[in-house]
């Protein structure tokens, strides 16, 4: 298999795992229209943390690898998290007249996701200094 094909296979496998984990969580913890969607919020923030962790480690600590970032970053974290579902959840909050909740959900998701990437990045960088 060529390098490119291995990369595509890695993205596919990561996507399978991310989608299964997210869909499983949504099934276990089904969102109620107009309420705080915990499953989506959780996968998005955890996925942002993992992406910050993996990418920083792969770029700054580990030797260059052809398949790790496609598998863990593009595939797993990309598919574990979702943007489109969040938008539809926001629309439903507006439908139910819960504008304040929608603003809070959008703001909290972005703030927590951004903070998760920042924390994961500094964790990896601090660990490197200690070593």
């Amino acid at each position: 298999m060529t390098g490119d094909r291995r990369q595509l296979l890695a993205i596919f496998v990561g996507g399978v795992l991310g989608a299964l984990a997210r869909t499983g969580l949504v099934e276990l913890w089904p969102p109620q229209a107009g309420r705080w969607p915990w499953a989506t919020f959780l996968v998005n923030v955890v996925g942002a943390f993992l992406l910050g962790y993996f990418v920083t480690r792969l770029q700054e600590r580990l030797p260059l690898s052809a398949y790790r970032r496609p598998l863990l970053g593009t595939g797993l974290c990309g598919a574990l998290t979702t943007f489109s579902t969040m938008q539809v959840e926001l629309l439903r909050m507006f439908d139910h007249g819960r504008d304040g909740l929608a603003v809070l959900y959008a703001g909290a998701s972005i703030a927590a996701g951004f903070a998760a990437v920042t924390v994961a990045t500094s964790m990896v960088r601090r660990a490197r200094l200690v070593r």
Binding site: L8, I11, F12, V13, G14, G15, V16, G18, A19, L20, R22, T23, V26, E27, N44, G47, A48, L50, L51, G52, V55, P70, G73, T74, G75, C77, G78, A79, L80, T81, T82, F83, S84, T85, M86, Q87, V88, L90, L91, A106, S109, I110, G113, F114, A116, V117, T118, T121
Partner: protein
Amino acid sequence: MNGLVVLGVAALGGLGALARFGLDSAIQARRLGEFPLGTFVVNISGSLALGVLVGAGVKDDAFLLTGTAALGSFTTFSTWVFEAQRLAQDGEWRVAGANLGLSLAAGLAAAAVGRTLGGLL
């Protein structure tokens, strides 16, 4: 959720990730500046498509497969905030803020337009 649906979720989730990579790479290859346009286009088009499914009344297993699995994997939250964080870290606060704000506004608008279009089907 039976075994066949789980298999479908797995396959469509993997394909969604591949489609995201394909579209993002094609756009990023054009090098159109600092703004992460690839992820933006992926997320907005995916929100439009998910809106269409919702508007058309797609439900249950059909929605789980096409919406939750395929479009859920196609669009991404982690890459979106990651790219904004890296831009901010590099001092590009305005581009980072524009990316977050524009994506959110355009994503909502796309989902709303998609839902209206889906309702016409």
